[in-house]
């Protein structure tokens, strides 16, 4: 069985693939891997970390209040439930 820390593979388009845990938010996983994602509130209400999700599924730890489009996610309050392909503006 995979360790919680590298449960899923996050493919950041044009950058690299990093592992992500299923016991912390996607934002925390990305930060742990040295990927600097823009953030403000870390609670899902401001939308600063809005990220485009190309493939994969996530679940939310809290109801996201910020506006996100159908193909977008808020890494600060979601946990991957599968491998993901995302676009992080770097």
């Amino acid at each position: 069985m995979k360790q919680p820390d590298d449960a899923f593979c996050i493919d950041i388009v044009d950058t690299k693939c990093v592992p992500a845990g299923n016991d912390k938010t996607l934002l925390e996983s990305l930060e742990q891997q040295g990927v600097a994602v823009h953030y403000h509130c870390r609670e899902g209400f401001c939308g600063a970390c809005r990220t485009k999700l190309l493939t994969g599924e996530v679940r939310y730890t809290t109801d996201p209040l910020a506006f996100i489009d159908d193909d977008e996610i808020l890494p600060c309050c979601c946990i991957p439930t599968s491998d993901l392909k995302v676009i992080v503006p770097l």
Binding site: C41, F45, A48, F67
Partner: protein
Amino acid sequence: MKYTTFNQNSINTLDEPMFFGNPVNVARYDQQKHSIFEKLIEKQISFFWRPEEVDVTRDRVDFQKLTDPEKHILISNLKYQTLLDSVQGRSPNIAFLPIVSLPELETWVETWSFFETIHSRSYTHILRNLFSDPSEIFEDIVENEEIKRRAADISRYYDDLIFATQLWQTQGEGTHTVHGETHVINKRELKKKLYLCMNSVNALEAIRFYVSFACTFAFAERKLMEGNSKIIRLIARDENLHLTSTQHILNLWAKGKDDPEMAEIAEECKDQARDIFMNAVEQEKEWADYLFQNGSMIGLNKQILCEYVEYIANQRMSAIGLDTPFEVKSNPLPWMNNYLNSDNVQVAPQESEISSYLVGQIDSSVSEDDFADFEL
């Protein structure tokens, strides 16, 4: 259509658009057309704070140590923010409440404006502590040309919508002449004014505060004016939520999830909406220029501040379906994130330690003795 404070007709608010439907009658929140506004109200109320909870007394000592250019930066920003919140504390109420048609949105507008009044009161709290008599500062807000220019641009779209709404509600649709000026009033024109006004408010919440925020937090990075910074953090947290609400409104319209006519207007006025945003960006850059005209402060200069404005403008323009016109790809002021993180917004000790300050607290500990005189 005449406004009424309690519409006697029975209306199903689930079928109403956000604005320009029937006036709201029962303030009920058991059913919501757009539940996001109810969630925003709850979140906003959970943020409740009072300026007096933040101890700013040490700032007075710090303020004396600042250089003259630094004092100019700090005070000018406080003046500008006072202006912004003076406008925001009343305008959403006056402009949006007479035309709103959903109870949850009506209450959101009231809650939103109320928090802006807390912000206004906090500037008095800060300034009273820095000066024995802060009148001069407040009086300069209506005399300072740099601030007045911004005020004119901010209030323009509100005033336009408010005036047209008043004409419509008193005279009805048609062509009206008031003080020698002719005004064409119809639903479509009113909705256009509302759309532009909402874009102007969105740009205000998205961009206009951030140059001041950056300066305040740059002082805090040097362990200066920390009381001030603590208050501004609380304000920034609220403003983030307000921005979320205007982004939702604009997107609900543009995606045809509310009034279909507003979707058409959004498409039709897209260029004007973009201009409003770009104008706000330009004005903020000019503001940075004015702030640093006498000299920079440690950790910040005009160029990096302008890049930061462009960086957040890109993000906030894309959130409402606009293009991202600026080159900046990475955050030029990464330390700003720490100040805008709601986890780092500390509560005052008395709020967490003295129980009478706790809101809605329940003593949930139950001992066996509590049931001593209880019989079945």
